[in-house]
């Protein structure tokens, strides 16, 4: 017993000494932090989401050569599918359109698409010609729709204007889609077999939700929808908040994610040429009939989020008036 007691006392003493030793070396050389700061890379830029797949491959810790081979393969595949810059615009769009219908589950939805198009009067005469395409063998499909610079074109697809088809499908899919579905479902219409008007609504609600979350902390709207600006403003506003008003970690994480999503959504619309505009720097929160954000729909009309976070679809003329109002 005595031995045990003395041993535990020794241990306690040892731990105390270790704690004391732990407090040594508290000082660093003056100017050391500045020396580290000098090494901050100039290209400390926001992440590039386009490289996600490449990073994922690199993170697998497989051999460098295998990783390089996979990356090269991926690039070749992407180029062969979506490249074709030198090809005629029409052939390129047709090729891209067909690739999206290449997967078997998608082929099952073909009839749905045709009926949708019929209702809209895009291809009244060509149902038969379209529906025969997926039933043909894969090899034939590939051969016939391989992008060509000349030579005979497939008659079935010739009757439909590729732009019309793409536009029709985009119309069904809604003006935007949630980012989680970005990769798995290029077209929610084909994934669910239903017309997804709710998808557009979900996006709008998410945008409003993100702006609201930002406003709750900062009291204003983000001045720009670039991730760098938004995070800077959010961080500085959060810092100035009183300690008692601290946000729980989970809520903070949610808000950050929402803001990241918002910026990505805006970028996505810019890339798609949907003419988005954002006036967070000019607009005061809560002001009705003042445009905070807008983007163009496929129909040519505009979806507008006002400063009081109401949302409405307006014509181009009305939008012009609305946007001119704060300037007057």
């Amino acid at each position: 017993m005595k031995n045990k007691d003395s041993q535990s006392r020794d241990d306690e003493r040892l731990i105390k000494i270790l704690n004391r030793i732990g407090r040594m070396y508290g000082d660093v050389r003056p100017g050391f932090a500045e020396r580290i700061k000098q090494q901050i890379p100039e290209n400390l830029q926001p992440r590039k989401r386009d490289l996600t797949s490449i990073k994922a491959i690199m993170n697998l810790r497989i051999g460098k050569l295998i990783a390089a081979a996979i990356i090269v393969g991926e690039v070749i595949l992407l180029l062969s599918l979506f490249g074709g810059v030198d090809l005629a615009d029409r052939t390129y769009k047709q090729g891209r359109f067909l690739v999206k219908y290449y997967l078997p589950p998608v082929i099952k939805k073909w009839d749905n698409l045709v009926s949708c198009l019929e209702k809209r009067g895009h291809c009244n005469e060509s149902k038969k010609q379209i529906t025969t395409i997926p039933k043909e063998s894969t090899a034939r499909r590939q051969r016939e729709h391989k992008p060509t610079t000349g030579g005979p074109q497939d008659k079935g697809i010739e009757n439909i204007d590729a732009e019309t088809l793409v536009a029709a499908v985009e119309r069904e899919a809604g003006p935007g889609r949630p980012l989680e579905e970005k990769q798995s479902a290029e077209w929610p219409l084909l994934k669910t077999g239903k017309v997804q008007d709710s998808t557009a609504q979900t996006n709008e609600q998410a945008v409003i939700g993100a702006i609201k979350s930002f406003g709750r902390v900062t009291g204003t709207y983000p001045s720009k929808l670039s991730i760098l600006t938004v995070m800077k403003e959010f961080r500085s506003a959060y810092k100035t908040r009183k300690a008692g008003k601290a946000i729980p970690d989970r809520a903070l994480a949610d808000t950050t994610k929402k803001l990241e999503w918002l910026c990505e959504f805006y970028e996505q619309m810019l890339r798609k040429g949907k003419e988005p505009a954002y006036y967070g720097d000019k607009v005061k929160p809560g002001k009705a009939n003042t445009v905070l954000m807008r983007w163009r729909l496929v129909t040519g009309e505009y979806r507008v989020i006002f400063a009081d976070l109401q949302i409405e679809t307006v014509t181009a003329e009305k939008l012009g008036q609305l946007e001119a109002a704060p300037l007057q």
Partner: protein, 186 residues
């Protein structure tokens, strides 16, 4: 509160904010340096490895997962840097500047005599003599006062494994100290 601040720091870093990179250095450079010193590196090695830790952190901030905390993640980078260093420099013995330790102890114990300083020095020498993995557990838990969960996260092992490692480390440390005492008496 610290977690929330770290969360914002991470978000800003991910957004490419240069001020956040500076804030990260201001907040953690001293702690990382001390950690590396306790692992047995000389002051200039510790400075180099601290710099390297931050460069790696800036480069890989996007790899920081949501369930990881910034603090443990940074320490883990530093620990990996240290391990890599020891692997590359197997022949180099760990620096232990006894005088330096004595000076530090004397400055902290104005009333304590050289006896305390010697005891501290012996403990420190014994810690540095421990195998790397055991030394890391001692440094993280007892010297830097990390909780078991945090220290296990830094070491990249389960809590149970960490506890058993800690137990082994203490036993070995005790043995080493007893050995030193005998040697001292002779």
């Amino acid at each position: 509160m610290e977690k929330s601040a770290d969360y914002l720091l991470v978000a800003s870093l991910k957004a490419g904010d240069e001020k956040a990179a500076c804030a990260l250095v201001d907040k953690y450079h001293r702690r990382i340096y001390v950690f590396l010193r306790h692992l047995g590196h000389s002051w200039w090695e510790s400075e180099e490895l601290t710099q390297w830790t931050f460069v790696r952190a800036w480069q890989n901030i996007n790899n920081l997962k949501n369930n990881q905390t910034l603090k443990t993640w940074l320490y883990r980078i530093a620990q990996n840097a240290s391990r890599e260093y020891w692997r590359k420099n197997k022949k180099r013995k760990m620096e232990l500047n006894a005088n330096e330790a004595c000076v530090a102890v004397h400055s902290q114990n104005s009333q304590g005599g050289s006896h305390i300083a010697e005891e501290f020095d012996r403990v420190r020498q014994a810690v540095v003599k421990l195998p790397l993995k055991l030394r890391e557990t001692i440094v993280l838990h007892y010297m830097l006062s990390f909780s078991i969960a945090e220290a296990a996260a830094v070491a990249g092992i389960r809590e149970g494994t960490f506890k058993s490692r800690l137990n082994r480390a203490i036993k070995k440390l005790r043995k080493e100290l007893a050995h030193q005492e005998k040697h001292y008496e002779k």
